[in-house]
Symmetry: C2
Subunit: 542 residues, 2 copies
């Protein structure tokens, strides 16, 4: 812009040719173009885009009248309801930052987040009133609590100053909201689940949210007006940007209070669902249920999965039920998934197992992301594309967070070398597709050899009796560490420790096979990730 | 960025989280992910994405070695060939600006553009060697001419210092190109055809080109890997950003040297074409040919049309042949079409004529555009959404040019009031869809009443013998102006002036009916627009 080139002279940005990128623009367009189309289905409530836009403007207006604006934080504690969807637009429309809270956290963790994020308003679904009531007693600053009660439950405790619908009534339906002053302005704050230490507050900007949403549409080849089922928590990386993406293409959001397989299959049938997302553990739950009930989908449904590497056996089962599964990879810091195992037609001719193995790879960057590769963590040189040399997975591009809130050291550390450092370990194949081998902390080092816990889990999942499996390091006097497997068996099956180990030995190098098998239920995070740190503790005490 | 908010502190843009938006990123990704897929078919030549990327890098490298870089202009005079496609990437990859020349212009106009745009290199297809040879004699600065000869024609005159393939050989296939320093940097220069005065040089920036391309994918719901036929001139608004859009989704570009109906239908059949673009006049030519040859498509093909309002009769005929026509609207200044007649399912139940009338509207903004509406040209207030009140069509958003090159006054004028002023006149319907009524200069004022030339043309096209029609103002002693129609009849039909006028009277208010009918061939611009200024001259002299 300071250049003297003829191409810069007298050609500055102006009101006509430059507008900050923001997903808020999507809502206004969809409400303009498809006002009567169904925007959201939440229990018995159905609302159009005109209605939804009006309510979002009312929310923004009401918050603004109460003094909330740029740089302020509005927290929401809610399952996947219309309220949380509206907050994705209404909160930033008044300039504020949305902090969607992980509903599985305890009162202490919620209190930490509200304190650290300096939330001034908290909209709380009635389901979480008890925990929020405790959490707010620990805060050093005042907070306005708003009850969100959809009227479906009885015996609901009201802890707020007013109700969400009352708050909306305070606001004007014709509120003149504005785009952010700068597309680099914060739009949301998402705390990582943080298996160790305090959670970190990941800050998203409008530009990244816009591009992340567009990225889902383009990279997943979403058609116009999909019917999207909310199986993925909206509080998790802002639902991988799908509140904005589905809105951009005038789809319908189908809310879901409880992520349970019966409710999922019912909702798919009742609403003609075309798209949904979920962690592999959700897919596994769905696959197990469909097997038990002998369910086949009447027409194919697109499912995006990410969050951990999906066992190929689960991928295969989902295919059999009628799901077209797309495997993606990402982290909170990169707006959810922004790499995809982009599919090659010729892979359709592979045997089911090989196809699933191809699909289990983390793949290549989204169109909106600039780089996704694996580098030597010391030198930052790219590893050779040999499918063997391990390195750290890194991202670079516009769908990377601003940084961690009030945490400059950790921010600087994770951006070291001009990449976002994921902490995940993997390889690059000859076709440039990345495959994750492990989280750095999940890798098992036995007799000096690296063992990928994922590879061992993949072998376990191929056993017909295994419903879920997780492998961690167990301290070993001779080898340093040895693989220890935690396994859940299918309800109607049995298998002995020896049988499972033998099964692994038929598929894996001997040193990679688990030496211990524990039959148990697996502890999980709210997003369905298995909590390996708990299993590691357990393995240490065996 | 200068705010003291907690959301800005220590959260600056860095190499990991901020990358200039540029369509150049699309090429690198597609070459990485789908290296062996066919990128381009040009006559007997087929090239993969790996090949195409290599050639673009070589082009960038060779230009760079010859001293071409940021702020320099590289012109190309070529039909829709692989060379011009490669230039869309190779030229900006070395920092330079692509100036694709309108191949229908005469030597004087070409000379004016080369002089005004300060082109330092000109890549010239052999077909245009004679005209370019004359044009460059008029330049006051030296220019490197590169011959592009695909070897298919004989008796070709070489006017350049070297051949395009020789130029590529000078360049390194591993050239380390870089993204622009700023996404606001110029990527291309497109001269408007300019019916009066000298052409104006519209400057595009990388950000707009990126979003324009993404806009086509999202708003036209393009699937992954389309087969795109180049019926639209690539020199026209950079082919409406489709060189970049089709590349982003790893499609295949089918080149086409001559836009003739037989060649179009042959190419559709031979290559399994899924998408193409063209002005209504191209659709009309295709529809006439298909009618004569009784052609029906074996599977639906998506066609985008823009450039002037398509007569509903032509839309209906295209539907019958098997084209799924999407009607869009735009201008060079807004990166080609960035409004679309976004379709509502319920309109499928309308009668064919009503459906075509709905589709003939210019519609609503692309997702990537911020505003498209109609305002009072004096006050800039939006007109009421009554389908009657006329005003000026305006755009605002990121797919709007930087400005006109070396023309600050005209730039300032067209951006007056914070909108890009199109100079087109129209209305907004109750459903917020915009409909164009006329170019300001095309409106006919008869006895103080405005007559839309488009409305009269629409009536003419409904006559079974009319193949093409254009209506302009003719000076009239009594009424000031009266409508004068220029009509081309179908080869196998006849119709008298009286018969045509009677046909119009059965459909239009009497004052709107043409008083004069001239049977003739219509003069057209290179992009198939009817040159009304020539017809107006003719009408004056009748």
């Amino acid at each position: 812009m300071t250049s003297n080139s003829k191409y810069d002279r007298d050609m500055h940005r102006n009101a006509a040719n430059y507008v900050p990128l923001s997903p808020l623009s999507f809502l206004r367009r969809t409400a303009d173009v498809f006002p009567t189309r169904t925007a959201v289905v939440d229990g018995d409530t159905r609302r159009t885009w005109a209605d939804t836009y009006r309510r979002c403007r009312q929310l923004a207006s009401a918050l603004s009248q109460r003094g909330i604006g740029t740089g302020d934080t509005v927290a929401v504690m809610a399952p996947n309801t219309a309220v949380l969807l509206e907050a994705h637009f209404g909160v930033p429309m008044c300039g504020a930052v949305l902090n969607a809270l992980n509903t599985r956290l305890d009162a202490d963790a919620i209190a930490f987040i509200l304190e650290h994020g300096e939330a001034e308003v908290l909209i709380c679904d009635h389901e979480y009133a008890p925990i929020v009531k405790t959490a707010v007693t620990k805060l050093s600053h005042p907070i306005l609590i708003v009850d969100a009660d959809d009227g479906l439950a009885t015996d609901v405790e009201h802890i707020g100053e007013l109700d969400y619908e009352q708050l909306l009534e305070e606001g004007g339906a014709d509120y003149e909201w504005s785009l952010p002053g700068d597309e680099w302005d914060a739009i949301s704050l998402n705390y990582t689940s943080g298996t160790t230490g305090n959670p970190k507050g990941v800050v998203y900007h409008h530009r990244g949210a816009y591009l992340g949403a567009i990225g889902n549409v383009v990279t997943w080849h979403m058609p116009q007006q999909p019917v999207y089922l909310w199986t993925l928590p909206m509080f998790h990386c802002n639902g991988w940007c799908f509140p904005w993406a589905v809105t951009a293409i005038a789809g319908t959001h189908i809310c879901l209070r409880k992520v349970e397989p019966e409710a999922i299959f019912d909702a798919i049938e009742a609403n003609g669902v075309t798209h949904l997302c979920g962690a592999p553990i959700v897919m596994n739950m769905m696959a197990e249920y469909a097997r038990a009930k002998d369910i086949r989908l009447s027409k194919p449904v697109h499912m995006m999965t990410a969050g951990s590497a999906p066992p190929s056996a689960v991928l295969r089962r989902m295919e059999e039920i009628g799901f077209d599964v797309t495997h993606t990879y990402g982290l909170t810091e990169v707006y959810g998934p922004t790499s995809i195992c982009d599919w090659h037609e010729e892979w359709n001719h592979l045997a089911a197992d090989e196809r699933a193995a191809m699909k289990a790879r983390q793949g290549v960057r989204y169109e909106v992301q600039e780089e996704f590769t694996v580098v030597n963590p010391e030198t930052l040189e790219p590893v050779p594309h040999d499918g063997e040399t391990m390195g750290e997975l890194v991202f670079r591009g516009n769908a990377v967070m601003k940084g961690y809130l009030k945490n400059p050291d950790t921010s600087a550390e994770c951006f070291e070398g001009g990449y976002f450092r994921t902490g995940d370990l993997g390889v690059v194949h000859a076709d440039k597709y990345v495959e994750i081998r492990d989280r750095s902390k999940d890798i098992i080092i036995s007799g000096g050899e690296n063992i990928s816990s994922i590879e061992v889990e993949d072998a376990l999942y191929q056993h017909p009796s295994v419903s879920e499996a997780a492998v961690v390091a167990r301290p070993d006097a001779k080898w340093g560490e040895s693989p220890c497997a935690f396994v859940t068996l299918r309800a109607d099956t049995t298998a002995s420790e020896e049988e499972i180990i033998e099964h692994c030995q038929s598929r894996l190098a001997r040193f990679k096979c688990p030496r211990t098998i524990v039959f148990t239920e697996l502890p999980k995070t709210s997003t369905g990730k298995i909590q390996k740190f708990l299993l590691r503790e357990q393995a240490c005490n065996l």
